[in-house]
C-alpha cells in the first residue's frame, strides 16, 4: 500500500533533463522532444503523422485525431523553447501517401509552425520521399557541429550520433507495479530518441535490436512519465 506521499519530490523537479553527448549539452523533455540550446534547435523523431488514417485505409478505423494531437504537442514544445530550427528526425509520416491525407486544419497548423523558422525533414524508412507540399528542407541526414542526425542509428559502436527509428521504451517493475513507457536511451556517445507521434508504441530497450548500438557497456535511460522524465537505473529494467 502506498501513501500518496506529497512531500519529498516535486513534479517540477523532473520536467526535463540535461543530457550531454560528446561534450555538447542537450535538454531531453518530458514531451519526448530534444532541445539543443547552443544551436537553438528542437529535434523530434518519429512523428508518424496520419498513422490513424493509414490504419483506416486497411480497415482498422482508428481515431482520426492523431495528427492533430501530435502537432499540438509539437506546438507546445516549440512554444516552450522558441527554436530557430526544427529537425524532424525521420518517419515523420506513417506512409508514403500520408502527406496527401493530412486534413486542411492540420495542414494549416503545420505551416504555421514552420513560419519564421528553419524546418528540416530528415527522411526515414516510412517516408523516404517527403512531399513538397509539406515545405522545409528534405535531407537523408544532417551534421551540425560534429553531431550527426539520422533516422536509423548506424549499426556498430559509433559516436556523435542522434537517431530515432527504434521507438525505445523501458519497462520498470517496482513493488508489483509495472510501467512501460517511451524513453530516451543513450551512452554519452550516441542517443536514441523516443517516438514523438501520438499513436506510437515502443520497443523494449532490452530487445536485441539495441544490442549492436550499445553493446554491453550499459546505457542510461530517461523514462517519460505523465508529469516528468525520470532517470532509471538499468537494474530496474525488465524484459517484455
Amino acid at each position: 500500500m502506498y501513501g500518496l506521499k506529497p512531500e519529498r519530490y516535486d513534479a517540477g523537479d523532473f520536467n526535463d533533463h540535461p543530457v550531454s553527448l560528446c561534450g555538447k549539452t542537450f535538454h531531453a523533455c518530458v514531451s519526448g522532444a530534444l532541445y539543443w540550446p547552443a544551436e537553438r534547435a528542437l529535434i523530434v523523431s518519429d512523428l508518424h503523422l496520419e498513422k490513424g488514417s493509414s490504419f483506416a485505409r486497411r480497415g482498422q478505423l482508428l481515431p482520426p485525431y492523431d495528427t492533430k494531437a501530435t502537432l499540438l504537442r509539437l506546438a507546445e514544445a516549440i512554444d516552450r523553447w522558441q527554436p530557430e530550427t526544427v529537425v524532424a528526425l525521420g518517419d515523420s509520416l506513417h506512409d508514403g501517401n500520408g502527406a496527401d491525407r493530412i486534413g486542411a486544419e492540420d495542414y494549416d497548423t503545420l505551416r504555421m509552425l514552420q513560419d519564421e523558422r528553419e524546418w528540416i525533414w530528415v527522411t526515414g524508412n516510412h517516408d523516404p520521399v517527403i512531399s513538397k507540399r509539406l515545405g522545409g528542407h528534405v535531407v537523408p541526414a544532417i551534421s551540425v557541429e560534429g553531431i550527426t542526425f539520422r533516422h536509423e542509428p548506424s549499426s556498430g559502436r559509433v559516436s556523435h550520433e542522434i537517431g530515432g527509428h527504434y521507438h525505445p521504451a523501458a519497462k520498470v517493475s517496482m513493488h508489483g507495479h509495472t510501467f512501460r513507457r517511451p524513453c530516451f536511451v543513450g551512452n554519452g556517445l550516441r542517443l536514441v530518441m523516443p517516438a514523438f507521434g501520438t499513436f506510437c508504441g515502443g520497443l523494449n530497450v532490452l530487445d536485441e535490436a539495441f544490442e549492436p548500438l550499445f553493446g554491453n557497456d550499459g546505457m542510461a535511460i530517461w523514462l517519460m512519465g505523465q508529469e516528468g522524465l525520470y532517470p532509471i537505473a538499468t537494474r530496474l529494467l525488465r524484459e517484455d
Binding site: L4, A220, A233
Partner: protein, 896 residues
C-alpha cells in the same frame, strides 16, 4: 434493461417436490409413478426405454415435453441432478423419433448452446445413451473452437439433427451467407445454464443471435435450462422475442422442479479463534483434512486461484494418510485438468480443491461433501456449489463452510441462512452492451447486405436491447461503417457501403475475414504459458532463458501482468508446486521446481467476487440484531460485544463512520458492506474529497465490508469543529465530477476500454504470429483512449466503456444506491483508538495495493532509488536531497 411493470403472466406450472419420482434400484423396489396425464405424451418407445432403465420420467420432464408439444417456449428451473438436461432434450428426441419431417433447409433440428466447451462434449456423450438404446435415427455432433475447420465447413453443409455448441460458434455460423439455409429447419433451441450466460456480454451476443435465428426460423421454440434464480421472469423474457414499441414484456412459460431434501450446512467452529483478517484459512486446514477423511469425495471450493494453490499445498502438508487430493482451476493446463476430471469420475480421488471451474454442471463423480473455504460471496453461488454434492435429489447435500476471518463468519452465517430460505441473488437486469451490438452488426453484414431498419427491428426484439433507441443503433452502425467519429474523414475507407436499394454491404471481403478472426466477447487478459525448464545452470538475473535452457512440459497459463512483476529467482505457488521463475523465453515463462516450502506467493487475481448485495443486506441485519449473535461462534460474539462497548453497532439502515488517531496518522473507517469494488471506488473518491477539504489524506484500503482512509489531518477534530461535514463528504454528487475526473485517469478504465475496443472490432485480437506481445495491444488502446477522450469525448466506444465501468469493475451503480440509502443515516463515532470492528480492515493494509494510485509517485521513487544507488557507490550518504543534481552525477558517470 428495465422490466416494464405490466408483465403478462403466461401459464406457470410449478411441480411440487412431494410427488418427486425417484430412481429405483435394480432389485425392483416400488416405483413411484407420477399421476399426470402428460405421461401419455411419451411415445411407447420412450416409455419402454424409461422402464428398461428402471426409471420413471420425472414430472418436470413430462411437463416440459407438454409445453414443447403445444409449441410454447419454456424456462425449466431445476437443481443440479434433477435430470435437467434430459428434460431439455426429450421434446427434440420425441419429435425426431417420429421423423420424416419435410425439409426446407439443411435439416438441422435442434441447437443446444452452453457456456462451456466441456459441457457440450459431456452432454453429447450423455445423449448417446438414449439415442443408442432406443435406436433413434438421430445424429448429434458438437462444434466448438476445437472442431477442425474441415469438419466445421462440412457441418454447415450437412449438419446433424442436433448440434451442441457455444454462443461464439453460433455467431460465426450466422455470419456465413449460407446461414438461412442452415437454420431454415431449426425447430428447437436449448439454452443450458442460462443463469450463467444471460447476465453478461456473452448473453447479449447470444440474445442478438437468437433474434436472428428467429428471423430464419419464425416458429422456433426456445427452452431455457437454469438453476434456481431469484427473478425467473427475467430469464423467461430472455427466451421470448419482445414486441417492439409496446410497453410490455412477453414471458416464456415456466416449469419449476422443486428441489429435494434441504441441504445440511455447517459452519466450521474451532477452539482456536477465527483469525482477524486474511483469506487463507490456514488455521482450519487440519479440520478440513479430517472432514475429507470422513467422506468419499469432497469438493473444496475456494474463491481465487491463489487460495486454491495455497489450500492444496497446506492440505498435502498434513496429508499423513496420503489421500489422493487433487487441484483444479482455470489456469492449469487442459491436459492436467482433464486428468483430474477423469480421476474424479473414476472414483480415484478423495478430494479436489477447485475454483469456479467446477461450478457449472458437469457430472464427474459422486461428491458427498462440499467444503467452502472463505465466504461464498453470494447465496446463488453457494447454492450452486452445494448442488455439486447432490446427485440424488432425495438425499440432503452436505456442506461445510470455513470462514477465513471474522467478518467472513458473519457472511457465512448469512449465506447459510439464505441457502435454507432458498434465496438467490442472481441479478440479470441489464442493458445490452454497445460494443457487442457493433460486433453483431458487422457479423450480420458479413452474412448478407442488410437494411438498417429491418435489422433494428430484429435487434430490439432481443430482451437486452428492447430499450435501444434507433439513434443509438444508428451510431453503432456508423461506428462499424466509418468509425463513428465526430470528424468525418473516413468515408472513403468505409467498411460498410450503401447500395442503391439502401442496404448496407461489406466493402471488401477482407473485412469478413477480419470479423471471423475477432468475433466473440471473451477478452482474456493476455496469458503466458508456464513451462517447466530443465535446469542446466543457475541462471543469472536478466539473462535467464536466453541460453540453452531445455523446455519441459507446460504447467498452465498465468496472466501476463502477474508474470511481469516477477524477477528471475522469485518463487511462487502454481499447479500445486512451488516454482522458481527463471525468465521469459519468447512468449513463455520458464520455471523450475524450487526446493523451498514457502513461496513468495504473490497473489494473482482470478475469480474474486465481491459480496453480493443480497448477502450484504443479511450481514447488516445480523450485525444490528444483537439477539442473533448467540448463533455465532464465541470469539466472534465477543468481538461484536467489545465493539458495542468501545464504539457502537450501527442499525441495519445506518452506516457507521469511525474516526480515530493511530501512530501519528488519523483514520476514517466506514462500514458500508457493499463489496470490495464499490469500496475501492468510494475510497478513491473520498480521498480526492478529503484532499480538497484539506484533511491531507495519504492513502486508503478497502475490503468487502468496509474501507479505511488515513491522513495527516485530525479528522475527529475537523468533524467536531464543523470543518468537515460527513453528510457533505458522502454526498452522492461525488459520482459526478469527481468520478469523471478520476475515471478518466483510471487504469481500470483503460483496461475496460481495451475490452470494449476489441469486442467492438476497433482493435484486432492477438493471433499467433501476428502480434508480438499483449503489452503492445495494451499500449495502443491506451493511446487511442487518451486521444478519443480529448478529441471525441462523446464517442460511442467511450460511452460503452463508461457503461461497463459503472456495472463492472467500479460497481458505480451499487455505490450510488448506497450513497442514496445512507443519506441522513450516517452514524459518526469519534474514538480515542482503533475500534474492534476496524481491526480486520486495518490489517488489510499492505495486503491489497490500490490500483491506479500513485504510479507517478513510484516513478519518482524509482528515480530516487537510482540516486540512492549512485550515492552508495560513490560513498556519499545523502540519499535524499536534490535529486536533479544527483541524477546529473549518475549521468556523468555513465556517460563518460
Amino acid at each position: 434493461m428495465r422490466i416494464v411493470p405490466r408483465l403478462r403472466k403466461a401459464g406457470e406450472c410449478v411441480i411440487g417436490g412431494s410427488g418427486m419420482s425417484r430412481r429405483v434400484k435394480p432389485d425392483g423396489e416400488s416405483r413411484s409413478r407420477p399421476a399426470v396425464p402428460s405421461r401419455l405424451l411419451l411415445p411407447p418407445r420412450f416409455a419402454q426405454w424409461f422402464d428398461t432403465r428402471g426409471w420413471a420420467p420425472r414430472e418436470h420432464q413430462l411437463a416440459l415435453l407438454a409445453k414443447a408439444q403445444s409449441g410454447r417456449s419454456t424456462l425449466l428451473i431445476a437443481p443440479t441432478g434433477a435430470g435437467k438436461t434430459l428434460a431439455g432434450f426429450l421434446p427434440s428426441l420425441v419429435k425426431l423419433a417420429e421423423a420424416n419431417r419435410p425439409r426446407q433447409g439443411a435439416g438441422l433440428h435442434t441447437l443446444y448452446i452452453s457456456p462451456l466447451k466441456a459441457l457440450t462434449t459431456d452432454i453429447a456423450r450423455n445423449l448417446e445413451t438414449p439415442i443408442g438404446e432406443m435406436r433413434l435415427p438421430i445424429k448429434t455432433e458438437t462444434r466448438t473452437g476445437d472442431t477442425s475447420a474441415a469438419r466445421r465447413a462440412r457441418q454447415r453443409e450437412k449438419p446433424p439433427h442436433i448440434l451442441l455448441t457455444t454462443p461464439e460458434q453460433v455467431a460465426l455460423m450466422l455470419s456465413h451467407p449460407d446461414a438461412p439455409y442452415l437454420f431454415a429447419d431449426l425447430d428447437t433451441l436449448i439454452l443450458d445454464e442460462l443463469h450463467a450466460l444471460a447476465a453478461s456480454k456473452r448473453g447479449d451476443l447470444l440474445a442478438l443471435d437468437v433474434a436472428r435465428l428467429r428471423t430464419f426460423a419464425p416458429q422456433l421454440l426456445s427452452i431455457g435450462l437454469s438453476a434456481t434464480v431469484a427473478r425467473p421472469s427475467e430469464l423467461r423474457a430472455y427466451l421470448q422475442a419482445q414486441p417492439s414499441g409496446q410497453d410490455r414484456i412477453v414471458l416464456a412459460d415456466l416449469v419449476v422442479a422443486k428441489g429435494g431434501a434441504k441441504p445440511k450446512i455447517e459452519i466450521l467452529e474451532l477452539e482456536t479463534p477465527t483469525p482477524w483478517s486474511g483469506h487463507l484459512a490456514r488455521y482450519a486446514i487440519p479440520s478440513i483434512y479430517e472432514a475429507i477423511g470422513r467422506h468419499k469425495l469432497s469438493l473444496v471450493f475456494v474463491n481465487t486461484r491463489m487460495q486454491a494453490e495455497l489450500v492444496f499445498r497446506e492440505l498435502w502438508g498434513v496429508n499423513e494418510d496420503s489421500l489422493p487430493i487433487a487441484l483444479h482451476h482455470g489456469s492449469l493446463d487442459q491436459m492436467q485438468r482433464r486428468k483430474v476430471e477423469a480421476a474424479m469420475a473414476a472414483g480415484k480421488l478423495r478430494a479436489v480443491v477447485c475454483t469456479s471451474t467446477l461450478d457449472l454442471g458437469i457430472d464427474w463423480g459422486d461428491v458427498d461433501l462440499v467444503i467452502h473455504v472463505g465466504a461464498p460471496k453470494g447465496a446463488s453461488r453457494l447454492a450452486q456449489r452445494i448442488g455439486r454434492a447432490n446427485h440424488r435429489l432425495d438425499e440432503p447435500s452436505q456442506a461445510l463452510l470455513v470462514p477465513s476471518n471474522r467478518f467472513e463468519v458473519l457472511e457465512c452465517r448469512a449465506a447459510m441462512d439464505a441457502a435454507y430460505a432458498g434465496e438467490q441473488d442472481v441479478a440479470l437486469n441489464r442493458t445490452g452492451a454497445l460494443d457487442v451490438l457493433a460486433q453483431h452488426v458487422m457479423g450480420m453484414a458479413c452474412q448478407a447486405p442488410f437494411d438498417p431498419a429491418e435489422l433494428y427491428r430484429e435487434v430490439v426484439s432481443a430482451l437486452p436491447y428492447a430499450g435501444l433507441t434507433r439513434a443509438l443503433f444508428d451510431r453503432a452502425v456508423d461506428f462499424v461503417a466509418t468509425g463513428g467519429y465526430a470528424l468525418k474523414t473516413y468515408d472513403r475507407f468505409a467498411k460498410l457501403r450503401e447500395m442503391p436499394d439502401g442496404k448496407l454491404r461489406v466493402a471488401h471481403p477482407r473485412f469478413v475475414q477480419q470479423y471471423r478472426l475477432n468475433a466473440g466477447t471473451i477478452v482474456e487478459s493476455p496469458m503466458i504459458k508456464v513451462r517447466l525448464a530443465r535446469r542446466r545452470r543457475p541462471s543469472a538475473p536478466g539473462s535467464a532463458g536466453a541460453g540453452a535452457v531445455m523446455g519441459g512440459r507446460v504447467l498452465g497459463e498465468l496472466e501476463e501482468y502477474f508474470i511481469e512483476q516477477l524477477k528471475p529467482g522469485d518463487t511462487f505457488a502454481f499447479a500445486g508446486e512451488v516454482l522458481r521463475f527463471e525468465g521469459m523465453r519468447e512468449t513463455e515463462a520458464f520455471v523450475s521446481r524450487a526446493n523451498v516450502d514457502d513461496p513468495m506467493v504473490p497473489s494473482y487475481a482470478g475469480g474474486k467476487f465481491p459480496l453480493s448485495t443480497h448477502l450484504a443486506q443479511r450481514v447488516r441485519n445480523m450485525l444490528a440484531d444483537t439477539s442473533s449473535w448467540k448463533l455465532l461462534p464465541t470469539p466472534v460474539c465477543e468481538w461484536l460485544t467489545l465493539q458495542q462497548e468501545k464504539s457502537v453497532i450501527p442499525g441495519p439502515a445506518e452506516v457507521l463512520v469511525e474516526t480515530f488517531p493511530r501512530s501519528m496518522r488519523h483514520y476514517l473507517v466506514a462500514y458500508p458492506f457493499e463489496g470490495r469494488l464499490a469500496h475501492q471506488t468510494l475510497g478513491m473518491l473520498l480521498t480526492r474529497r478529503l484532499e480538497r477539504m484539506k484533511a491531507r489524506p495519504l492513502g486508503f484500503v478497502a475490503n468487502d465490508y468496509g474501507l479505511a482512509v488515513w491522513g495527516l489531518g485530525d479528522l475527529s477534530h475537523m468533524i467536531e469543529s464543523g470543518r468537515l461535514d460527513l453528510a457533505h463528504l458522502f454526498e452522492e454528487d461525488m459520482l459526478g465530477d469527481d468520478l469523471e475526473a478520476w475515471l478518466d485517469e483510471s487504469l481500470l478504465m483503460k483496461r475496460t476500454f481495451r475490452h470494449v475496443a476489441v469486442i467492438a472490432g476497433l482493435i484486432e485480437r492477438r493471433h499467433p504470429g501476428r502480434e508480438k506481445s499483449g503489452r503492445q495491444v495494451t499500449m495502443s488502446t491506451d493511446l487511442i483512449y487518451d486521444v478519443l477522450r480529448r478529441y471525441d469525448p462523446e464517442h460511442v466506444l467511450l460511452e460503452a466503456a463508461r457503461a461497463d465501468a459503472a456495472t463492472g469493475l467500479l460497481d458505480i451503480g451499487r455505490l450510488g444506491d448506497f450513497l442514496r440509502r445512507i443519506r441522513g443515516r450516517i452514524r459518526h463515532q469519534s474514538l480515542p483508538r482503533v475500534s474492534p470492528l476496524a481491526i480486520p480492515i486495518l490489517l488489510e493494509i499492505g495486503i491489497e495495493p490500490v490500483a491506479g494510485s500513485a504510479r507517478e509517485d513510484l516513478l519518482r521513487e524509482a528515480a530516487a532509488e537510482l540516486v540512492a544507488e549512485a550515492s552508495s557507490r560513490s560513498g556519499e550518504t545523502n540519499a535524499d536531497g536534490d535529486v536533479r543534481a544527483q541524477a546529473g552525477k549518475i549521468r556523468r558517470r555513465r556517460l563518460q
